[in-house]
């Protein structure tokens, strides 16, 4: 199977997460009075769920423009960590391909790609790029399409289906195979404890504390336990 198709297959389950989430954004943006082109503009130009919801909510509350922008960008700061983490794998690509990857770098594409790169380490840069584009295909274009559907239809998928929990399940299913060594398990454990302890911090900044704390814990564990990476 080609790298692209492998990626497409691995990204496909995320449709269950993307469709309701995108429709919800379309509905809420329309209810907030945004015309169709602005609603779709958010999903195409910003392409970041949590940041879009934050911006929408603050716009609704008539917060100052700079506050809206700064708050939503704070929610997106983890993207810089993803960028750093994926650079050892994709840094050799031509600049335009790195630009394409950067545009499509969201939680789901990052997580699935990095899981695959660690599982199959001997891939070339172009195989890794093709895999990334495969993962992206059932995630990013549907994000635009179902934002539009939500805005046009004006109805979300019923909440009692338990779909709110599709996102945690999808990510947790990937975390399992990522916990390869004691250092990885320590990193995950420390990150979870910090995430719960700092959940009260505004604009998702608790996530940054937890992520950085987990990374430091993992790196320290690797050094002190002499774990092979």
């Amino acid at each position: 199977m080609s790298s692209y198709w492998r990626g497409l297959r691995d990204g496909a389950p995320f449709l269950v997460v993307i469709i309701p989430f995108a429709m919800l954004f379309g509905v809420l943006a329309t209810e907030a009075g945004l015309p169709l082109h602005e609603t779709l503009g958010f999903s195409v130009v910003v392409i970041a769920g949590a940041a879009q919801f934050t911006a929408l909510q603050l716009l609704n509350e008539n917060a100052p423009t700079l506050v809206v922008i700064a708050s939503a960008l704070a929610v997106n700061l983890r993207m810089a960590m993803y960028s750093a983490s994926i650079t050892p794998h994709l840094g050799r690509l031509p600049l335009w391909k790195r630009g394409v990857v950067a545009y499509f770098l969201v939680d789901q594409t990052y997580a699935q790609a990095i899981l695959d790169y660690e599982k199959i380490p001997n891939q070339t840069s172009s195989e890794k790029f093709a895999y990334f584009m495969g993962v992206m295909s059932p995630i990013c274009p549907p994000w635009y399409v179902f934002t539009l559907v939500g805005a046009l239809v004006g109805e979300t998928i019923p909440e009692n289906l338990g779909l709110d929990f599709a996102l945690p399940i999808a990510f947790l299913a990937m975390v399992g195979p990522m916990m390869r060594t004691p250092a990885h398990r320590i990193a995950a454990l420390v990150a979870v404890i910090l995430a719960l302890a700092f959940a009260w911090l505004p604009f998702n900044t608790g996530l940054l504390v937890a992520g950085l704390g987990g990374m430091i814990a993992g790196a320290q564990a690797e050094l002190r336990l002499g774990v092979a990476p």
């Binding site: 389950p13 907030a32 392409i47 990095i114 420390v190």
Partner: protein, 107 residues
């Protein structure tokens, strides 16, 4: 709600800012070698950030207005455990979804 010019200002600024955050290392570092200590930390980015991202959603689910829910907790534990033991993402997702649906129907 704010005017159209302001909404577009937010969209464009957020778009540029988000792309900047995503491009900063991919674009500026590229294939230049990073120091060992940096790489050592980056190896644990995914395994730290993803559990941190979902932990609050598991313990305080939106659907129950933040009240801990036994079905969701059990589904989360089942998902990680199966994913860890089988190293298979699809197996983890399947068992997690089945646990959630089954327990929600029972409880």
């Amino acid at each position: 709600m704010s005017g159209s010019a302001e909404v577009w200002a937010v969209i464009v600024a957020l778009g540029l800012g988000s792309f900047g955050l995503r491009f900063v290392f991919l674009g500026l570092v590229g294939d230049r070698a990073m120091p060992d200590w940096v790489l050592r930390h980056l190896r644990y980015t995914a395994v730290a950030v993803l559990p941190a991202l979902v932990a609050p959603l598991v313990v305080w689910p939106n659907a129950t207005d933040g009240d801990p829910d036994p079905a969701r907790l059990a589904a989360a534990i089942a998902t990680v455990t199966v994913g860890y033991l089988t190293r298979n993402v699809f197996a983890g997702m399947g068992v997690g979804a089945a646990t959630l649906i089954g327990l929600t129907a029972l409880l």
